[in-house]
């Protein structure tokens, strides 16, 4: 990741982090006005913000250390998606978003950095969960799914909103750090989670892509299955 890109991503992240801090501050104030406030919600908000910061740091570290020192291991995509759903669960509840796992089918292990893949999918998930209630989504459902395409195994997050297009992502990448809303058709915020996910994936020699599955629109990464690993 070039220095300028890293700084632009940091700007987007700083802007994004205002949201959870604002949510916490106002809910604390609401409590002082005599309203009952869910402390679990405050904890989830803080946890999600901390996770986003960790993901950003991971992305920068992975990019700085270079491909040659990337720790690769056999990873079951379905288990990463399952763990990602667990991490997203509490935040999804507060946004009224239903999480759905679609990990049927045998894909075999892929050779990748598990921590990086999970951090990328979690960052992406947080960004989409926050965005969905203000989108044209009818069902407020985020599907975490894997499917096989002609390019490899696609691990991604899907919803029924049609604004998750290749063009939206391309424009967003060009505007990150320069615009308040690089993904204006998708998110009311800086959408930092999407760009942090992309940065992590790029550091792993992967890329965030738009994808479609089960008539849903999504973002995800294409991973290569490894036949040799399946024999182990």
């Amino acid at each position: 990741m070039a220095h300028v890109e890293s700084q632009q991503l940091l700007l987007g992240l700083a802007e994004q982090l205002k949201l959870p801090l604002l949510q916490i501050a106002r809910r604390a104030e609401l409590s002082s006005l005599g309203q009952e406030v869910d402390l679990g919600a405050i904890q989830s908000t803080a946890d999600a913000a901390l996770r986003l910061i960790d993901s950003y740091v991971l992305g920068v570290r992975l990019a700085e250390s270079g491909q040659e020192s990337l720790v690769l291991e056999p990873v079951a995509v379905s288990s990463v998606l399952y763990d990602t759903a667990q991490q997203l669960d509490s935040v999804a509840k507060f946004y009224g978003v239903h999480l759905e796992l679609s990990i049927g089918g045998k894909y075999g292990p892929v050779l990748t950095n598990r921590q990086g893949l999970q951090a990328a999918l979690t960052s992406l998930g947080m960004a989409l969960i926050e965005a969905l209630p203000a989108l044209d989504s009818k069902h407020l459902t985020l599907q975490l799914g894997a499917h096989r395409s002609r390019y490899g195994i696609v691990a991604g997050l899907y919803s029924d909103t049609q604004t998750l297009t290749k063009e939206t992502l391309r424009r967003g990448n060009a505007l990150v750090g320069k615009s308040r809303q690089p993904l204006v058709g998708v998110s009311h915020s800086s959408g930092a989670g999407v760009f942090v996910a992309d940065a992590i994936l790029q550091a792993m020699n992967l890329r965030l892509q738009t994808t479609r599955h089960n008539r849903l629109y999504g973002l995800g990464a294409v991973l290569q299955s490894n036949n040799q690993l399946q024999l182990v």
């Binding site: 205002k18 809910r27 609401l30 908000t45 507060f94 946004y95 604004t163």
Partner: protein
């Protein structure tokens, strides 16, 4: 007072709604510009509180459309936004004079008490 709260973040919207309701106001939350137009038709609001950063539209686009209806041409609108004043001081004349914005609050430094005071008095707060 009947209020339309145009706020795209659901968690934040819910917090503002609770504070406003506790102060005796009726609040309808809208996450998008389109939803706010529909809600205004139903509710006949006394006030709109809105974010300028919306998904798919800018708040200014929403205001142009909103003000084009006779019923809502003079309805008070309070801007409560993440956009700092310095970024749109050039547009403030447009917002105040042409689009009838009654007041501006920068979200990160606007407490619930400040918001409630502003709603109750509808006193303009200029950037």
């Amino acid at each position: 007072m009947k209020i339309i709260l145009l706020e795209p973040d659901k968690v934040l919207a819910d917090t503002y709604r609770q504070a406003l309701m506790q102060a005796g106001h009726k609040v309808v939350m809208c996450a998008s510009a389109q939803a706010a137009i529909f809600a205004a038709d139903e509710l006949k609001p006394d006030l709109v509180i809105m974010e300028l950063q919306l998904t798919g539209h800018s708040g200014i686009e929403f205001l142009y459309e909103f003000r084009s209806y006779d019923d809502w041409a003079t309805l008070p609108v309070l801007v409560l936004t993440n956009v700092p004043a310095g970024e749109f001081t050039g547009s403030w004349d447009l917002l105040r004079d042409q689009l009838g914005v009654s007041g501006y609050h920068y979200k990160p430094i606007t407490t619930l008490r400040t918001l409630l005071r502003s709603v109750n008095t509808l006193a303009p707060v200029h950037p």
